[in-house]
């Protein structure tokens, strides 16, 4: 299969270009991540009003919702990058996919843990075998599966292919997570943010949530680029430009 793509697409496929480009982006994303996360945390913890029913336990939302959406976005990115790697035989795409897995797993743990902690004062239980919670647990297992499969191969090309296929198959779980609150009777509340409707909470509550979500995405970009850059160097260590990078480090 051969599909003509724009020029930047092929530039992105060049390891050296990728390394230099992400190197230029990193400081900006780092600054944005720190700024957004600090503002979002202080705003959410101190200035956002307490919920009239849940009191201050509601403040867990500023960790729980951003980590939940990021864990899913990260999975989608991993699957899409894997597919791009399979179709266009693009090594950089596999590098990015590989870097997504450990980050996504840790963020999924954050989502599950903060959900359990929030569940205790709100529902009276740390865990229930509810559709949304179970689907999210499956997401964590998918991440762990991808990491395990990736490290099971001696040959990088085989590992790339196998993990790309596994992450594509696991993609079916993403709509299940999203619609789980509609398809099944559930304790879990529906989405806070939707594209079509106004949020079901006042701006004093959802603006800091948006700030936190953006901060989480910027943070993800930083650690993703950082991991991917190291992996690019590792894979290209025989080339002259990497030797120059090593010498100047």
């Amino acid at each position: 299969m051969k599909i003509k793509m724009p020029r930047w697409f092929y530039q992105l496929a060049s390891p050296r270009w990728f390394y230099e480009f992400t190197g230029a982006l990193l400081p900006w994303f780092s600054a944005a991540a720190i700024l957004l996360l600090v503002i979002g945390t202080v705003w959410g913890l101190v200035f956002a009003p307490a919920d009239y029913q849940q009191g201050n336990s509601f403040r867990i939302i500023y960790i729980h919702v951003p980590s939940s959406i990021l864990a899913q976005s990260c999975y989608m990115m991993m699957a899409v990058a894997g597919a791009v790697g399979l179709v266009w035989k693009m090594k950089i795409a596999h590098v990015v996919a590989g870097a997504c897995a450990p980050i996504g797993a840790s963020i999924a743990i954050m989502s599950l843990a903060t959900g359990a902690i929030w569940g205790k004062p709100t529902w009276g239980a740390w865990w229930v075998w509810d559709a949304r919670l179970t689907a999210m647990l499956v997401l964590l297992f998918l991440y762990i599966g991808v990491i395990a499969l990736n490290s099971a191969f001696e040959n990088k090309a085989s590992a790339d292919k196998a993990t790309a296929i596994l992450s594509l198959v696991g993609l079916v779980n993403i709509p299940i997570i999203k619609y789980s609150v509609e398809w099944w009777n559930t304790l879990h509340q529906p989405a806070t943010f939707t594209v079509t409707e106004k949020p079901a909470m006042p701006p004093e509550m959802w603006v800091p949530l948006l700030v936190m979500a953006l901060g989480f995405y910027c943070f993800f970009a930083v650690v993703l680029m950082s991991r991917a850059r190291t992996e690019v160097l590792e894979r290209e260590k025989r080339s002259d430009w990497v030797k120059r990078v090593i010498q100047s480090y």
């Binding site: 101190v46 336990s57 943070f219 010498q247």
Partner: protein, 60 residues
């Protein structure tokens, strides 16, 4: 201070202090893990690569 009458009140979070601070603590730990592990991979790469480069240059 925002919605709280005092710093002690802020720490207590009504009756939910344990839950709120545990959540934010876990988030902080996972954030630090991500930063440290990414940094560690990079450091490890450069240590090994420098060693290898020196060895190669020594034999040529």
């Amino acid at each position: 201070m925002g919605n709280f009458s005092s710093f002690a009140d802020f720490l207590q979070m009504g009756t939910h202090g344990l839950y709120v601070w545990l959540s934010y603590g876990i988030a902080l730990v996972i954030f630090i893990y991500n930063i440290v592990s990414a940094y560690w991979l990079k450091r490890q790469f450069f240590i090994n690569a420098k060693r290898r480069l020196r060895r190669e240059q020594g034999t040529v």
